[in-house]
Symmetry: C2
Subunit: 355 residues, 2 copies
C-alpha cells in the first residue's frame, strides 16, 4: 500500500505524455479517474511537471449557466493562444453526465480544437472521494502543459465547495434569480469566492443582486458605514459606500477586492472582462505570496487525502474489515453489538501501532 | 483509539438520559456534536435503545421551503400525540445557521412544545465528516424515545444526498421553479427520493413539474410506452400512461410507487396527505423487509465511517502525520517530492500491518 507495492505504469506512457501526445493524457486520466492499479505512481512520476497552470474553479447552483460561461471563457482565452483544460463535475449519474456533456459540445464547437481539452467526471465510485480524484485529473492536465485548468462543479454542497476552495482562483456564478436563495448559501459562497459573476445578467434583478453582494462583501470587511441599515439610507448609497470602502481597504492592505461581474454568457457579453479579471487575480496571487500559500495548503490537503485513501484500502480492500463487518450485521441490527465495538475489532486487527 | 481508551461518560448522564430528562439529551448531543472525549462511548452505550424511530430525510435545493414544511409536518404529527425530533443541517456558517434557526422559531411556535425537539447543526469542523455526526445526533434522539426523527438538509451535494440516503424515508422537496434546474440534479434526486413534494404549489408551474417527475419516474422503471416522445403524443397522455404504468408495476412487484405530492406549507395545504404518505411508506418498509435492509446498510456504513474516523485520528491527532507533513511542505511545493511519497512515509510510520 505504498508506491513500491503498486503496479508501475506502462513503460512508454510517461514518455508519450511528456512528448505531448494527447492519447497519453487521455490514458493517464482514465487510469487516475478509475483508480486503476498504479494510478498513484503515474501522479507521483509527473509531480515535478505540475504547478504551472492557473487553476480556476467555477461553481454555483444548477442552472446558472456555468457550462456556457466556461465554454465562452475558453474561446476568449484561445484568442491569445492559451491552452485550456476543462474538468466538469456533473451530478451523480453517468446518464445525466453524458447528457450535459452533450449539451456542452453541441453548444459550442470547441471540442475539436486541440488547444482545448474537456473531461467530464462521473461522480460515483471514487475511492477516497470525488474531490480528490477531480483534483488529480486537474494535476495531469497541468503537468501536460495546459496554461489554465478550469474545474467546473455543480451545486453548493460540501465537496463542491472543497473543489472550488483548492483552486488558485474561485469563480462563483449566480443568476439574478439566485437572490431568493442567496441567504441560505451565502456564507459558504463568500468563503470560497475570489470573483462573483452574475450570469444571465440581461434578466431582471441582476443589478439588485450585484448591490446585495457588494453590501455583503463590504460587511465582511467590517467597514460598514455607521448609519447603514437605518431608515433614510438607501441601499444604493450603502452600496456605493461599500464599493468605495472595499476598494480603499484593498488598496491600503494589498488585499484582493472581490469583484462582482455581470455576464451574459450566451451572447458573450462580459466574458472579456472576466478573462481580464482572472489575469488580474493571478498577478495578485503571485505578487502577494498568496499563490504559494494556496498551493502549499492544496499539497498538504492532498497528502492527507492520500494517506486516508490508503488507510481505507488497508482496512477494506486488503484488510479484515469486510469480513468482520458482514459477520456482525445481524447482531448490529438486533442491538446486541454497537457499530463502535465492531469498529474496535477492525482497528485492532489492522495492527496500527499507536505511538 | 478503541472504546477502552476513551473517556467514560459522566456516571449519571446515561441514567438521566434513560429517565427521559431533556437536559441529558441536550448534553449527550453536545458531546457527540463536538466529538468530545468519550463521545463514542455514549453512542455505544445507547445503541440497544436505538432503531425504534421512523427516520425521515427532507432534502432539496435552497429556498424550497423545507424548514416551513418540516415545522408544519411536525405540528401535524403532534395532533396524534407523536413525539418528533428535527435535526436541521444548515449551510456552512454559524452565522447563517443561527439566522435560519431563528426564522424557524419565529415562523412557528413549536419550539416550546416538549413533544418537539429541534437541533440545528453547524456544518464545520466535524471530525470524520458532518454526515456521520448528523446521523449520530439522530441516533441519540431515536434512543431517547422520539417516534420520528426528521433530518433536514439543504442542497443537493454529495454529503446532503448521503444523509438523505440513510433515512428510512427520503422526501425530496422541490418548487415549481425547480423545473429549470431539475435536469441537472434529477439523477441524484431520483436515486434517493421515496417521496417527491412540490412545495409552494400555488405558484405557476407546479402541475407541469409534477408531470415531468411522473414521466421521469416511469422511464426509470423501464415501462415507457413505445410511442412516447414521438410527435403527436402529448406530455399529458404520456404522464397518464406513466402514472398507470408505475402503479401497475408497483402492485405487480410489491414495489413502492414513488408519489409526487403537492403542498403549500405556508398555508398547511397538503401536509396531512404528506403525513399519511409517510405512514404508508413506513408500512411498506416493514412489510417488504426493506426496513431491515436499509437499517443494515446504515449500520454497515456507520461501522465504515467509525473505522475511518479512528484511522484519521491515529494518523493526524495521535500519530506522526502532521510532523512529517509540515516538514515536507517546501519540498512538495518545489516539486522535489510528491504527495504520494510523503503519504508513503506517514503510512509506514503508522506501522499498519498488511495481512
Amino acid at each position: 500500500m505504498t508506491l513500491d507495492s503498486q503496479t508501475a505504469p506502462a513503460d512508454d506512457l510517461l514518455e508519450r505524455f511528456r512528448a505531448g501526445q494527447r492519447t497519453a493524457l487521455a490514458r493517464a486520466i482514465s487510469i487516475v479517474e478509475n483508480t486503476r492499479p498504479g494510478f498513484e505512481r503515474v501522479l507521483h512520476a509527473l509531480h515535478a511537471d505540475m504547478g504551472r497552470a492557473h487553476r480556476i474553479g467555477v461553481t454555483g447552483p444548477p442552472g446558472a449557466g456555468k457550462s456556457t460561461l466556461t465554454s465562452k471563457l475558453a474561446l476568449e482565452l484561445r484568442k491569445r493562444d492559451e491552452r485550456i483544460g476543462i474538468v466538469a463535475v456533473d451530478p451523480s449519474s453517468p446518464f445525466t453526465g453524458g447528457a450535459l456533456l452533450g449539451d456542452r459540445i453541441r453548444m459550442t464547437n470547441i471540442s475539436t480544437d486541440p488547444g482545448i481539452f474537456i473531461r467530464s467526471m462521473a461522480t460515483r465510485g471514487h475511492l477516497g472521494g470525488l474531490a480528490t480524484t477531480t483534483k488529480e485529473v486537474a494535476d495531469l492536465i497541468d503537468a501536460y502543459g495546459y496554461d489554465r485548468v478550469v474545474l467546473e462543479t455543480v451545486g453548493v454542497g460540501q465537496s463542491e465547495l472543497e473543489i472550488a476552495r483548492t483552486a488558485d482562483t474561485s469563480v462563483v456564478v449566480l443568476v439574478p434569480e439566485s437572490g431568493d436563495s442567496i441567504q441560505a448559501m451565502k456564507a459558504g459562497l463568500m468563503e470560497v469566492a475570489d470573483v462573483f459573476v452574475i450570469n444571465k445578467a440581461d434578466r431582471p434583478g441582476a443589478d439588485r443582486l450585484a448591490q446585495e453582494l457588494e453590501v455583503m462583501l463590504h460587511m465582511r470587511l467590517g467597514e460598514m458605514p455607521r448609519n447603514a441599515g437605518h431608515h433614510g439610507v438607501s441601499l444604493k448609497s450603502v452600496q456605493k459606500a461599500a464599493r468605495e470602502g472595499v476598494q480603499a481597504k484593498a488598496e491600503q492592505t494589498g488585499d484582493w477586492a472581490i469583484p462582482v461581474l455581470k455576464t451574459t454568457a450566451q451572447s458573450g457579453e462580459g466574458i472579456d472582462e472576466l478573462a481580464r479579471t482572472l489575469d488580474r487575480h493571478r498577478v495578485y496571487l503571485e505578487d502577494s505570496g498568496e499563490l504559494s500559500r494556496r498551493r502549499q495548503a492544496r499539497l498538504a490537503e492532498r497528502v492527507r487525502a492520500v494517506v486516508e485513501r490508503r488507510l481505507q484500502r488497508l482496512a477494506w480492500e486488503k484488510g479484515p474489515g469486510e469480513e468482520i463487518l458482514s459477520g456482525s450485521l445481524r447482531a448490529l441490527e438486533a442491538g446486541e453489538v454497537s457499530p463502535y465495538a465492531v469498529a474496535d475489532r477492525i482497528v485492532k486487527e489492522l495492527g496500527v501501532q499507536p505511538r
